[in-house]
């Protein structure tokens, strides 16, 4: 474990700054929540989130009152921003589960100090994503017809439809992420319960902690549980975006109907997910002075993951092009051609720049070690990934089989309000989280401390 700690050469690469004790770690993370004085930064961020959230409510209110006609949708482009945002948010969610599950299985202990808020990010991203399939319905008040339940209509969902697969995949994903997150929280909730002086807080955290007392018996079951959960969540996280990509691959729309979408989408998801992790971690750690816990090492590792997944995404773009040509199918040819040189070429080349060209800078250590640059590059990637989904969805639909029915999608302001609004919802939830819950897993960070190691005399 934690061999970095012994290795003299990697002093700079510590995953936790020296000089921490169990007590100081605990206090530093806990005070963020238990402090009396909330920093101005928090109010700023929270207010921003709230404002955008109200914009969202306005847009949705009008949507429900009038219908999806307020968006730029048309024949043949029946899906636009809503589905784009759905795929984008779901993708962002993936990093959280990946960090907490896959890196746990791979024993990457550096994850311990970023998995908590990454998982929170997952939850909130999925919450944002989960709303779009509902919002984009022509008759949203009937969304529950997508679930199988005993009803007097005698009709059930069509289990051959990718949209029903989505319902199951996304709801499973949301549930499992929530459980995983909560299990991870229990010991820290106990810490908060024991640290707070506020009776109400103690009561609430106490209820949530369910009477956790750090018993060795519990710890051993707990370790099994988190390993099992990680094992379960790993195939899940890979499956979710695969299923999302089925929405497109199962359809026969040229430009959608292709077999390599699943890996392509999963890579893209992790790509955008880590971008979001960086976009959140970098400001947070500087504001709350957590550089000691979220070290440059974390940022650099995330940057490396971004670079790797970014390369996979780039490869997928090339494959997309190659397949389009290789099928020697007139519709596929046209679809790829239109994507690159058709009405949406600006968006296409912009996304290529964002997702393939820009990330190449991450090859350079100097850049990986400049948080400001990392922050910017992660924003670039987030924009690029949104555009990728937009181009895949809209450009393929706009020009499919019969030229007579081609038509161009133009977003209305309500498209934008709905999209920006969900970002508001995300910020709103996220700022509530960092104010009310420990944004770093305290007990897992404790295990990173040198003094956490038991010196065995002889051992057995």
């Amino acid at each position: 474990m934690a061999e970095e700690l012994q290795d003299p050469h990697v002093a700079s690469k510590k995953i936790i700054a020296p000089g921490y004790t169990f007590g100081t770690v605990t206090d530093q993370i806990a005070t963020v929540v238990l402090t009396k004085r909330t920093p101005v930064f928090w109010f700023g961020g929270f207010a921003a989130g709230l404002v955008l959230l109200f914009l969202f409510l306005l847009a949705v209110g009008l949507l429900f009152a009038k219908g999806v006609g307020i968006w730029g949708l048309r024949t043949p482009v029946m899906w636009g921003f809503a589905i784009t945002n759905f795929v984008w948010w779901i993708g962002i969610g993936h990093a959280g589960t990946l960090i907490s599950a896959i890196l746990l299985l791979l024993n990457q202990r550096w994850r311990n100090s970023i998995n908590r808020f990454a998982e929170a990010m997952t939850l909130f991203a999925v919450a944002c994503a989960g709303m779009f399939p509902l919002l984009h319905l022509g008759r949203p008040w009937l969304f529950y017809w997508l679930f199988p339940y005993p009803n007097t209509m005698g009709v059930q969902p069509n289990f051959r439809s990718p949209l029903v697969w989505d319902v199951f995949a996304v709801s499973t994903y949301a549930t499992v992420s929530l459980l995983f997150w909560f299990v991870g929280l229990m010991p820290d909730l106990a810490t908060l319960r024991d640290r707070t002086h506020n009776r109400f807080a103690r009561f609430t955290y106490g209820i949530l902690a369910m009477g956790w007392r750090g018993s060795a018996k519990h710890w051993s079951i707990y370790e099994t549980a988190s390993l099992l959960l990680a094992g379960i969540a790993t195939p899940l996280v890979l499956s979710v975006h695969t299923v999302v990509s089925f929405d497109f691959t199962i359809a026969i729309v040229p430009g959608w109907h292709s077999t390599f979408f699943p890996p392509y989408f999963v890579a893209g998801a992790i790509y955008s997910g880590f971008a979001m992790v960086l976009a959140l971690a970098i400001p947070l750690r500087s504001v709350y002075g957590l550089e000691g816990l979220i070290t440059d090492r974390h940022l650099e590792n995330s940057a490396k993951v971004m670079l790797a997944t970014g390369l996979i995404v780039g490869y997928s773009y090339m494959m997309e092009f190659f397949n389009g040509w290789y099928t020697s199918n007139v519709y596929e040819h046209a679809a790829i051609w239109n994507r690159m040189f058709g009405p949406y070429k600006t968006a296409y080349w912009f996304l290529i720049t964002c997702n393939i060209v820009a990330p190449q800078l991450l090859w350079f250590k100097q850049i990986r070690q400049k948080p400001a640059l990392l922050f910017m590059s992660s924003i670039v990637v987030l924009i690029g990934m949104w555009l990728e989904r937009y181009v895949i969805i809209v450009s393929s639909l706009a020009q499919d089989y019969l030229p007579s029915s081609w038509g161009i999608f133009r977003a209305t302001k309500w498209d934008w309000f709905t999209y920006v609004g969900t970002i508001g919802l995300f910020l709103f939830l996220f700022f509530l989280f960092i104010r009310l819950l420990p944004m770093i897993s305290i007990f897992e960070v404790r295990t990173l401390l040198p003094q956490a190691k038991v010196e065995e005399e002889g051992g057995n």
């Binding site: 006609g69 048309r74 069509n158 949209l163 499919d400 019969l402 030229p403 007579s404 029915s405």
Partner: protein
């Protein structure tokens, strides 16, 4: 108590007030009304005897009934205040004896719709007394069962909430009683001076009854004058027959015997009288099947591409003004005449004339040269000469006496009226339907002139531009509301019978004219019946009358054919040399969908994609790409047109195939008082249209001005990509060499190439044979006239969404007709191909697979069903539909509010709500109705028993629907032909709708 005037109130004013507040305000306003002291006072009088007294209605009984009705209503209001949307059906009486009526089962009544006075026989479908759909009358010579867009859309016009709802005097609501009162006063004044001050202005009249009435009025008022004005009437043809024959003639054709057809700027397949009949005959001669391989040949010379041009084997883009030169050249080639101007600015003309002439001479007596209604009299005269020379008269070309009651030169007639108006002799001007202020030639300045008449009365469906300058406006009864009669293209008379009592107490021209006669108190039924009893010799009149009304045609009323002598001198008058001189030629044409403007408030027609251009809700300055380039304009940029010092700003629209050096303008748009759909749509062309040039002239100047304009098209991309194999086409020669050649290597995967077991469409569980519905569309017959689209819209309660929504790609028509240009859009003379696209009812329907809630699934008979109530609106089905035939209700497009429009809906089809997908169902309601009948009689359906709405309306029988399990059905026979192919068959959707490749029959010598 009731003696103070503002309190006093009688039933006429009550009814008028109610009428003035149309629609859903009806009851509420009655409520308010009931509160007025006047009404209370009215209710306090107890004795019906008195109540009768207050009616100024002709029929005293009326008064009491209304009194009781109103009183009952007002007393009921206490409980009714919540029901603001009371249905108004209860005012609809049954036209036929109720015992014939089985609720839920429509009745069909024969009647006739007129356009430009000429009748098209129709069958009107009536549900519980509500006319909901109009189809062609198979018995009628002009329609042969098909139906044009105007007749079909007139049912929407009937229920138009913008229709005038009460007689008005200077804009104030008045009553019929007071109108007739003042009319009688005026008439007595006129009687004194033999009606010297009385003028009647009508549209073209073919009605024998009305003609009789007018004759009678002429007797009563010898000095009175009757004028006619039909803006899009056959003025040239009239002049030509005077020129060629010295007397007015009516001409019609028989294309079923024509091997070679030369259309000189004539859109005979899609517009003009008898176009339905012509299209039927023409396409019959074009239908190629195994065994029958002789095809007629069509030459079309025209400036602006039309449906007819799209069928041409040789289409010659030619300025309308040069058509005359072509005709001369043609006449010279066939030695029908000699001379003509030789402007050598278009050498092609003579090359063409030579080839066409040779072709014509080869098929003497079996050819037609038809001149367009908008061509010069000389072209018509020459056409007569050529047909005579070729011996076509009597075989393919027929002459009769005019079908019009009074075939005068309408322009002269209108100018004459203008003169009288100036001289101030006109005391009473009765304008019986028509909208001269809007449609008269601009130089006559009718808006100002009409006001010189002392009393001006206008009878029309809408309070339109003309009504604005008349003191009296009278609501006209729609032809579905009143009795009448009219002649068809060959003189055949149809009786118009009302399907519903006048919704707004409207009256027909016939009734108004009657009130000028000696016996004013006569209702239209009696008027028409009396006239025909006077015409009918023999005792069995009642039986004869019943039959006439029932059949919709009066047997033997077609005018006798004759062979008039041609006056040689008529053809010596050579037109003088005519050159553009750097300017442009201007063509005025009635709009393809709203005609001369009379249908401008008809949503169905406004939103109907115009043939070839696919534009809705607008007209434009159509020009050739080259001219546009020269002017530095593109589609949507504004130009200022100036002609004879008259100016007009309008948007340009580049039309591939439009002749260069010429622009085409469709009049009828730019209404200012046409109703909510009409007002503000398009721009008004009439201000450029003078009596000097009703149809065409040179000397138009166009210059780019600032500003741009957005059109609402239903088709963005029209260039045909051969690699996609959308239209399978070829020439008859290629086809005869190798029938497969038309498919040009398009793939169709074998049905065996699947892992899945096929679904059994042959037999049901008990092994009984099932129906399997399918459709075949013969592209070789389709002219792209779009009648099928209106039929579908009417049959299936399809909503109208308006220009803005069409621009956003949200038009709702289930059926569309795509038009493709072969070659590039810049090609000076591209070939046009029309392709109607209904739902393909794929057996492997991509839409069904992806619907998460099974709202769309497959019926046992192979229909791709759509369950509106189950749809949640994910729109995934539309994304996955390769044909994009699904339509989505982005908003609440259907009108749930307007009471009159509720009457319009077909009760057998769901009115779709917001947020659901909808699509073509092969008119499943018709299928099920027919199946129920068959099951009741325990028999299988006969082939042809079910006709889809589009099929029924199609003039060329291009659309055939039926059971593909029955090898002898027409549809199976069509599908078994070698020309048959499925659209996008290569993606293995297995469409039930298939197409038959289109063929052309070019003249082999054309290029040599």
């Amino acid at each position: 108590m009731s003696n103070n005037p503002e309190n006093h109130l009688d039933l006429a004013t009550v009814r008028d007030r109610l009428r003035s507040t149309g629609g859903r305000k009806y009851w509420r306003s009655l409520d308010e009304l009931a509160a007025t002291p006047g009404f209370a006072d009215l209710l306090h009088r107890e004795f019906p005897r008195q109540a009768i007294g207050w009616s100024d209605d002709e029929n005293p009984g009326e008064g009491r009934r209304n009194f009781l009705k109103l009183m009952g209503a007002s007393l009921a209001l206490a409980g009714l205040t919540a029901c603001t949307r009371q249905p108004t059906e209860h005012i609809v009486p049954y036209v036929r004896q109720p015992e014939e009526l089985i609720p839920g089962r429509p009745l069909f009544f024969a009647s006739a719709a007129t356009l430009g006075g000429v009748a098209n026989g129709v069958l009107v479908e009536s549900h519980e007394g509500r006319p909901t759909k109009i189809e062609g009358n198979p018995e009628h010579p002009a329609t042969l069962g098909a139906c044009d867009i105007f007749s079909q859309a007139s049912v929407l016009q009937l229920y138009d909430p913008d229709r005038a709802q009460a007689p008005t005097l200077n804009g104030e609501i008045s009553g019929w009683g007071s109108f007739f009162g003042s009319l009688r006063a005026m008439l007595t004044a006129q009687k004194a001076k033999n009606g010297a001050g009385l003028r009647i202005l009508t549209e073209t009249i073919t009605s024998p009854t009305v003609a009789e009435q007018l004759k009678g009025i002429q007797k009563l008022y010898p000095a009175a004058k009757w004028h006619q004005w039909e803006p899009a009437g056959p003025h040239s043809a009239r002049a030509a027959s005077m020129q060629a024959f010295g007397q007015p003639q009516n001409t019609y054709y028989d294309f079923s015997k024509a091997d070679v057809v030369v259309a000189l700027d004539s859109d005979f397949l899609a517009s003009g009288v008898a176009s339905l009949r012509y299209a039927r005959q023409f396409s019959a001669r074009r239908r190629v099947s195994e065994g029958k391989t002789n095809m007629n040949r069509l030459y079309v010379a025209e400036p602006m591409p039309t449906a007819t041009g799209s069928k041409a084997d040789h289409r010659m883009p030619l300025r309308a003004g040069d058509v005359e030169e072509l005709t001369w050249a043609l006449a010279t080639t066939v030695q029908a005449a000699a001379g003509g101007p030789k402007t050598n600015d278009n050498g092609d003309i003579y090359r063409w004339a030579e080839k066409i002439g040779a072709d014509l001479l080869r098929s003497k007596g079996a050819s037609v040269v038809i001149a367009g209604e908008y061509q010069s009299p000389m072209v018509h005269a020459l056409a007569h000469a050529i047909n005579a020379k070729l011996g076509n008269v009597g075989t393919t070309v027929f002459y009769t006496d005019p079908i019009e009651a009074n075939p005068t030169d309408q322009l002269a007639s209108l100018q004459d009226l203008a003169k009288d108006l100036d001289s101030g002799v006109v005391d009473v001007l009765l304008i019986l339907s028509g909208n001269p202020v809007f449609t008269a030639p601009a130089d006559l300045g009718m808006a100002a002139r009409i006001q010189k008449a002392k009393t001006r009365v206008h009878l029309s469906l809408f309070r339109d531009e003309t009504s604005q300058v008349c003191q009296w406006h009278l609501p006209e009864a729609h032809f579905l509301e009143s009795w009448g009669d009219a002649r068809a293209f060959d003189g055949t008379v149809s009786i118009q019978q009302p399907l519903i009592a006048p919704l707004y107490q409207g009256r027909s021209a016939c009734e108004i004219l009657q009130s000028l006669s000696e016996s004013p108190e006569m209702n239209p039924y009696v008027i028409v019946k009396n006239y025909w009893s006077s015409q009918h010799a023999g005792a069995d009149f009642d039986a004869w009358w019943r039959r006439a009304v029932h059949d919709g045609v009066i047997a033997g009323t077609a005018l006798p054919q004759k062979t008039p002598a041609l006056h040689g001198e008529g053809l010596t008058a050579h037109a003088q040399k005519r050159t553009l001189g750097g300017k442009l030629e201007v063509n005025f044409r009635p709009d393809p969908t709203i005609y001369d403007g009379r249908f401008a408030n008809n949503g169905w027609l406004q939103e109907l994609p115009k043939p070839i251009t696919k534009m809705t809700w607008d007209n434009a300055v159509y020009m050739n790409p080259g001219d546009a380039h020269r002017l530095g304009v593109e589609t949507g940029s504004m130009v200022e047109l100036s002609y004879e010092g008259r100016r007009l700003k309008a948007p340009v629209r580049i039309q591939p195939g439009h002749v260069d050096g010429s622009v085409t303008l469709h009049f009828g748009y730019g209404r200012t008082h046409g109703g909510r759909s009409a007002n503000g749509a398009g721009f008004d062309v009439y201000p450029l249209r003078t009596s000097k040039a009703l149809w065409q002239d040179v000397g138009l100047e166009a210059s780019k001005v600032s500003g741009s304009y957005e059109f609402a098209d239903t088709q963005m991309e029209g260039v045909l990509d051969p690699a996609r194999h959308i239209i399978h086409k070829g020439t008859i020669a290629e086809y005869l060499k190798d029938p497969e050649a038309v498919h040009d290597g398009a793939e169709a995967p074998a049905k065996s190439l699947t892992l899945y077991p096929g679904f059994n469409y042959q037999t049901d569980e008990e092994g009984r044979p099932k129906y399997a519905w399918g459709m075949a569309i013969d592209l070789n017959s389709c002219t792209g006239c779009t009648a099928c689209i209106v039929a579908c819209q009417a049959e299936n309660n399809i909503a109208v969404v308006g220009k803005d929504q069409v621009r956003r790609g949200r038009n709702m028509q289930w059926l569309r007709v795509d038009t493709y240009y072969a070659g590039t859009a810049e090609d000076p003379n591209p070939e046009f191909y029309n392709q109607p696209i209904p739902c393909m009812q794929c057996e492997n329907a991509p839409c069904e697979l992806v619907c998460p809630v099974q709202a769309t699934s497959h019926s046992a008979e192979g229909l791709n069903d759509m369950v509106y109530n189950r749809c949640v609106g994910t729109r995934y089905c539309s994304n996955n539909c390769p044909y994009k035939v699904r339509r989505f209700n982005f908003y609440l497009f259907s009108d749930y509010e307007t009471p009159s429009l509720k009457l319009l809906h077909n009760p057998d089809v769901t009115v779709r709500s917001r947020g659901v997908m909808e699509k073509c169902t092969y008119c499943v309601q018709r299928i099920n109705a027919a199946k129920m009948d068959a099951e009741k009689q325990d028999r299988r359906l006969q082939d042809g028993e079910i006709q889809t709405a589009c099929q029924a309306s199609c003039p060329t029988e291009a659309i055939i629907f039926g059971d593909i399990n029955d090898p002898n059905s027409r549809v199976s026979k069509m599908k078994s032909q070698k020309r048959n192919y499925g659209l996008l068959e290569d993606i293995n959707t297995r469409p039930r709708t298939t197409y038959l490749a289109t063929l052309r029959n070019p003249n082999p010598e054309w290029e040599s």
